[in-house]
Symmetry: C2
Subunit: 322 residues, 2 copies
């Protein structure tokens, strides 16, 4: 009953071996046995996310390389949000049996470029036939030198809420790609890149873990409007202040072109893979000078509500559920 999208399992294993080194200090016995053997730190963080054709990506405008890159990048973004350093990952791949080998090789190329640049070994891989392309990744990491890991729901009233990265830019890219196809890259280069090739904020997450006054960090993947309520502790709300000039020029241009409020567009967003954090005001001023893509979005306050530029935030974020 089994079929493989590659010509043979050996072909798949060769394609893996050609791209992902099978020796690494973390991996004392590499791929090729029933399990790999890992040398592990005492504390690890772990997460898993699937990346599914026509749910998370469309082949109409994602190259195989883009899909392979993004499938890993969105998982690494969860490691970044813990303030951790990635250590290794496993990959389950599935797709139609008539998928050309070059397409699978492209997926592996995009993923290997990011994995090798990040310095993490591929510990296990599995390839199967399936009616849609599915890229299933489990990734794990370890705390940085400080030993600290971030959690949500830890901020205090009066804390500055900040973001590392752009809000709304990937959503503009998605919107333009869906309506205009890949040619829109000419007019929306950074929005398209933000959607197709997000980069996890690993260095920034690790740097922030060195500061005791940073009270919580999370990955903004469903849009700030949906993710902020998951970040705030019970009983706290937020006053957001997002002036237009803090947003990316392509976000502003898209908002104006479509008659929308740029700040609202930014907070609805979706797939930003930015980091949302909180810290004491004094620390914020220190950090703000150090981290070029960090910016303040408001403050945590007593109470339940969230306001944006003085108005109640009614928008929902990116809706997973149709």
């Amino acid at each position: 009953m089994k079929t493989s999208p590659f010509q043979s399992e050996d072909h798949f294993l060769e394609a893996i071996s050609a791209r992902f080194p099978n020796a690494h200090p973390h991996m004392t016995v590499g791929r090729g046995d029933d399990c790999a053997v890992l040398a592990c730190p005492e504390t690890m963080v772990m997460t898993c996310d699937m990346f599914v054709e026509n749910v998370h990506f469309r082949r109409a405008y994602f190259s195989p390389q883009d899909a392979g890159h993004k499938a890993l990048a969105v998982n690494l973004s969860d490691i970044a949000a813990m303030g951790a350093k990635p250590v290794g990952f496993c990959l389950g791949l599935a797709g139609p049996p008539d998928t050309p080998a070059a397409c699978w090789e492209g997926v592996l190329d995009g993923m290997a470029e990011l994995a090798n640049r990040t310095g993490i070994p591929l510990v296990g891989g599995d390839l199967n036939a399936c009616s849609s392309m599915v890229i299933s990744i489990t990734v794990w990491g370890e705390p940085g030198e400080s030993g600290r890991l971030f959690q949500r729901r830890m901020c205090h009233p009066g804390d500055v809420l900040f973001v590392v990265g752009e809000l709304g830019l990937a959503a503009v890219g998605l919107s333009r790609l869906e309506s205009e196809g890949p040619a829109c890259v000419k007019n929306w280069p950074e929005a398209v890149a933000a959607h197709l090739r997000p980069e996890a904020k690993l260095a920034q997450g690790l740097e922030l873990s060195g500061f005791r006054g940073v009270r919580g960090l999370m990955d903004v993947s469903d849009g700030l409007a949906r993710d902020l309520p998951r970040f705030l502790p019970e009983g706290l709300g937020a006053e957001l202040s997002i002036p237009e000039d803090m947003l990316h020029a392509e976000v502003i241009r898209h908002a104006h072109a479509t008659g929308r409020d740029p700040a609202e567009l930014a907070v609805i967003g979706g797939e930003d893979y930015a980091l949302l954090g909180a810290c004491h005001r004094t620390l914020f001023l220190e950090l703000y000078g150090r981290m070029p893509d960090m910016w303040p979005i408001g403050q945590a306050v007593q109470g339940q509500g969230i306001t944006i530029n003085g108005r109640p935030l009614l928008s929902r974020g990116f809706d997973h559920f149709g």
Copy 2:
């Protein structure tokens, strides 16, 4: 672009929480943040396998509970083959948006029964829409008290080759289920159970890890005929001796009913999830008395070939590639 097969992500998370405890000594921060936080042993083994509808299972005769059970069991079998003890796992689930919630709940029920009986926590879970049902599992474990882990290709000429578990029984179950549907369970109860509800040989793998003279262990998942060449070191072959009376009565009955040689049927097999091992003759006699489902299948010899009951083994195992 995202849709979830459950009504909402909250519904999925509730279904997970109701079945999989979110507190465990291995998991110092449970599910619900960007990552879980794990307290890890120094050495871990890790593997990942997908379980895909119409490739690994058919809904016509797999209940959702069977699918959930088997998806985890086949991964645990890789842990057993290392002589290790399972520690935790992550789950990626995908399926058609019109899948009834009761079906997903059944998958989770079958998986939770096995996970909870095995004592391993679910560390991360992700649910997505996909045209087929896909269950993607990453599982990890730690060495037992001896600290030993098994690898393949370690046996010596003259070593006894042994199997723990049945050969060919699951293949008989598959064959009968495909031709007769679920009603065949009446005449082929153990073959059907072997196909739908395999159990990883975890206790046996761990027990074997306590014996220095056991030289290698592996999971027989593609049939002995395909897996044995992966087990033997370069330059070694095997002389197999598989008398009919070592095989399960349902294997013998199916072979006779279909005019096939029972031993050949057993070694072609497929999805046995038995363990294949090797050890010195003296140790074998000691072990044979201890482990009721262990039996000798022959010996490793100098040279390339594999013979079965004196004839060259021509059969291939279960073919992944159609």
